[in-house]
């Protein structure tokens, strides 16, 4: 009994000693160090662009139609020669996602024919006001210089991976998700 008790204590002491000399820490100091997410991670949505800065979204509303929690609201408008926003005929003038209703199922990503909406790597979704949880188009749209891919390219499974870090296309689901 005494021996068993000492054995158990020795195990706990070993772990404590290991930690004190700097081994065996299993945690990340979160706000300073952030865990990198695998490619299949479904975080906060992003709206992608082409390389020349045109938006991919053509305002077809398929994402809003497939969304099981009806979290997406979308109003389309016509592209004109003076105001060419997307690569197609129309573009999304208003694109809102209610992040409190969204269940992060990724159906929008799968439904999108243009690879415009993808689930990103960001998981820091805390806000101060309820109204802040309605993500506007500007909140989700990639910066213009971050666009990639040529017009009408279609491959949903590599859509959110840059050609440079194209690991997940080669069948590695744990490849680190690219932060655009």
């Amino acid at each position: 009994m005494l021996v068993d008790f000492l054995k158990g204590s020795a195990l706990a002491l070993k772990h404590m000693g290991n930690f004190i000399i700097g081994k065996g820490n299993v945690t990340l100091e979160y706000p300073e160090v952030k865990r990198e997410q695998p490619a299949f991670f479904r975080g906060r949505h992003r709206l992608q662009r082409y390389r020349d800065g045109l938006e991919r979204c053509v305002g077809c509303s398929l994402c809003a139609a497939v969304c099981p929690s009806e979290a997406i609201y979308l109003e389309a408008a016509e592209n004109t020669d003076e105001n060419q926003v997307s690569a197609g005929e129309r573009y999304a003038e208003i694109y809102q996602i209610h992040l409190l209703r969204c269940i992060f199922c990724g159906f929008c990503e799968e439904a999108c024919p243009e690879n415009a909406i993808v689930m990103g790597a960001s998981y820091e979704l805390a806000m101060n006001k309820r109204t802040d949880f309605i993500a506007e188009k500007d909140d989700m749209l990639d910066p213009a210089e971050k666009g990639f891919g040529d017009y009408h390219e279609y491959d949903p499974y590599i859509s959110h991976v840059t050609p440079e870090s194209d690991k997940s296309a080669k069948g590695d689901p744990w490849a680190v998700k690219a932060e655009h």
Partner: protein, 465 residues
């Protein structure tokens, strides 16, 4: 060496209100000691809580709280501030007088027991004389021949010290039981009942382990018990009473309701137990009481078994002081400072170090051991610890009686102490190894296991009968 002014007029003035300057001096000395000991302990408790969270984290391979302040040092204090500013909720249907009384009843006995902890030696004789002449007080009031002839470095020093501690610490369970009862909540009530039943069971073991020490010292006075252990670690009672020491440690875990015996607040079973319905500072008072109790039982264990304020080796302080003054004439003034250091090393270094070891033991056991089931707790208390304590007491008292008869000087010899220690520890280890043989351990494991050990792969394990 003397102060540039006398303190005597101050006490003469205060004496007008207290029927003589001697009473004023007694009150002032007591107040200073209370301020130092109680105040010091209250400052340390937030850091004990932080230390506890850190140790548990390290055992579980994580860094623990490190956000507030450097190394997380402000966490405990900020927890206190947070609890202080929280709303105090009194639920409907509580027995209000008892509900409000219970947290106080938990904390007050803890503070009362704190009065007796001897943190340093008694100042008396020539050293007291030197102190009095330094403060320029009247030697007929305070001094070797005065009304106050000694200053113990404990808040008070009654002759029945250990009885008082036992009595007062047992009152502490009233707070827990009344909190459980008055909350009008079944889980709280269960927690309170568990706490009282546990306290009754383990108080016996605690007392049995203390009786051996009292027999060895021949006194209930805590200073006499410490004096009987003077002269180095081989004189300590842990050498004479190793089994009682183990029993005392187990019982003190149970007395303070700490893991592995914290059935009164077992979170998975009782949603917090007796303090479920408490919030804000009332909740914090329960925690405060628990931690003060931890410190007190640790200090009692140190006093009874580990030589109190005595160090590992006895140091001849007066000889050291004389030697230092003889090195050079410029060191001549150091004599009183060395003597003062000899008095302060107990409260400042030795007692905190020894108590800190036991605090670590409390925390480490919480990080290591699983909580006992209630029937296992009662099994351990009544079927194991109580017989062991009784047998230990019979052997101890028998050998002490023989020793006293042979020598007839009323004191227990050092060799006798070691013989008692060797016999009791040997018997205990032999019982432990024989009783918990590999075969019985396998049987126990089988009895307590809900599912059989080797269910075939893919097969749903059947409940063991």
């Amino acid at each position: 060496m003397q102060l540039p002014f006398s303190l005597q007029p101050l006490f003469d003035f205060l004496g007008q209100f207290t029927d003589g300057p001697a009473n004023a001096l007694i009150i002032v000395i007591a107040l200073i000691k209370i301020a130092l000991i109680v105040g010091g302990l209250l400052q340390i408790i937030p850091f004990i809580i932080l230390f506890e969270r850190k140790i548990i984290s390290w055992v579980q391979d994580r860094p623990g709280p490190n956000r507030a302040g450097p190394w997380g040092l402000l966490h405990g204090i900020l927890d206190g501030v947070k609890l202080f500013f929280k709303e105090e909720i009194t639920p409907k249907g509580v027995d209000k007088p008892l509900y409000l009384l219970a947290p106080g009843l938990t904390v007050a006995p803890a503070f009362l027991a704190l009065c007796l902890v001897p943190v340093g030696p008694i100042i008396q004789g020539a050293h007291l004389d030197a102190l009095v002449s330094f403060l320029r007080l009247d030697p007929s009031i305070i001094g070797p021949g005065g009304i106050i002839s000694e200053i113990p470095l404990a808040i008070t020093n009654p002759n029945i010290g250990i009885l008082y501690v036992l009595a007062v610490t047992s009152i502490g369970v009233y707070g827990i039981t009344l909190a459980g009862w008055s909350s009008n909540n079944k889980w709280s009530l269960l927690g309170g009942i568990r706490a009282s039943a546990q306290m009754v069971s383990y108080e016996i073991t605690l007392s049995l382990s203390i009786i051996g020490v009292v027999l060895l010292a021949g006194s209930l006075n805590l200073y006499n018990i410490i004096d009987s252990q003077a002269g180095g670690f081989w004189h300590w009672n842990v050498m004479a009473q190793p089994v009682a020491f183990l029993l005392f440690i187990i019982a003190m875990f149970a007395e303070t309701n700490r893991l592995p015996f914290d059935l009164a607040e077992a979170e998975p079973e009782l949603t917090g137990g007796f303090h479920t319905e408490y919030s804000s500072m009332r909740f914090a008072l329960f925690f405060l009481g628990e931690y003060i109790n931890m410190v007190i039982v640790s200090a009692m264990c140190v006093t009874l078994f580990l030589g109190g304020y005595h160090g590992l080796f006895p140091l001849p302080w007066e000889a050291i002081a004389t030697w230092i003054t003889n090195i050079s004439p410029s060191f001549a003034g150091f004599y009183p400072w060395v003597i003062m250091a000899s008095y302060l090393i107990g409260p400042m270094v030795i007692v905190p170090a020894k108590v800190g070891f036991f605090i670590f033991l409390f925390i480490f056991a919480r990080a290591t051991l699983p909580r006992l089931r209630y029937d296992q707790l009662m099994d351990l208390g009544w079927k194991r610890l109580l017989p062991i304590g009784l047998i230990n007491l019979v052997i101890t008292s028998g050998i002490i009686a023989i020793d006293l008869m042979v020598t007839g000087n009323g004191q227990v010899e050092l060799a006798t102490k070691w013989i008692i220690g060797a016999i009791t520890l040997g018997l205990f280890l032999a019982w432990d190894l024989l009783y918990y043989s590999p075969r019985r351990k396998a049987q126990l494991e089988k009895d307590y296991r809900l599912y059989p050990k080797s269910a075939k792969k893919g097969e749903k394990p059947a409940l063991a009968s």
